[in-house]
Symmetry: C2
Subunit: 185 residues, 2 copies
Amino acid sequence: MAKLNICVLRLGHREVRDKRVTTHLFLAARAFGADKVMYSGRRDKKLEERIEKVVETWGGVFEVEYQRDWRKTVESWRTEDWEVTHLTMYGLPIQDVIPAIRQSHKDKLVIVGGAKVHGGVFELADWNVSVTSQPHSEISALCIFLHELFQGKELARTFGNAARRIIPQAKGKKVMRRKSGDFLP
Amino acid sequence: MAKLNICVLRLGHREVRDKRVTTHLFLAARAFGADKVMYSGRRDKKLEERIEKVVETWGGVFEVEYQRDWRKTVESWRTEDWEVTHLTMYGLPIQDVIPAIRQSHKDKLVIVGGAKVHGGVFELADWNVSVTSQPHSEISALCIFLHELFQGKELARTFGNAARRIIPQAKGKKVMRRKSGDFLP
């Protein structure tokens, strides 16, 4: 089976108010196995730079892209045969629908709402999925979705070409840094 | 088996900078099955009010409490026989340690770091646990920890005495509101 591609689209980013939440969301997307993130709303070059800096340090291949028009973006990805999942507290419970989503083997575009989600998003999505029907966070919704999609295998993922790597410890911190090709403590 | 009690302690909250992230963290704690959250750093009454408002609307029993001295708090919960888990990207992989944590049946105090985590936290914790060894978010780390601890059963949890309840839909939104004891659309 070919590798499943995952792209996350964050709607309606607000530069000041959402700064840290969108950063956490994009880092969670990367850590839990997405390949790319896109966002609509306000263009925020500092956000993009923060994410690019993390990729440089911690490795892997991961893109950030601004999209002015979320609807055109979703429609064009749909015509490329990507399956669209919208994470929303109003959707169908993840535990009921994740087996079918997993089984489709299509690449996934995962839409994560912002402040006010346009009703059209519910219509454009193949799946409207809830992670609990309770209010919490787009960050927790996204990482549980990816964790369930990959059935936990994403936890053991390694990131190529990293400048820094953590060696897990029972107590304290151990970080290796790459110097001239090799990792050194 | 008695119900497992879970309390989350957020270290070093900063009133302005962490406002939304701590709110999301506490809502995720509630949605994924914790009973209580505590925080150190700056006292933030608006944060407490926001969480209390959510509990009023969406139900369940859930407390928020400020703790000026995190070390005293952790030490006193330890003497009450709570098991202390510290979520940190430097810790042991969750997939390796969660079976042992699950098996202990002790109530859990889960510590989630803030800006700069004091080295003493690593020493006080029974477990230093990482959810991937990559940078992401305390929100994703916490919800994956609780999701793994409860083995996904928390997703189907219901919250008693709610004023509002979502009826999951394939498309669109359906919310029931309690009026004079009954739920009405």
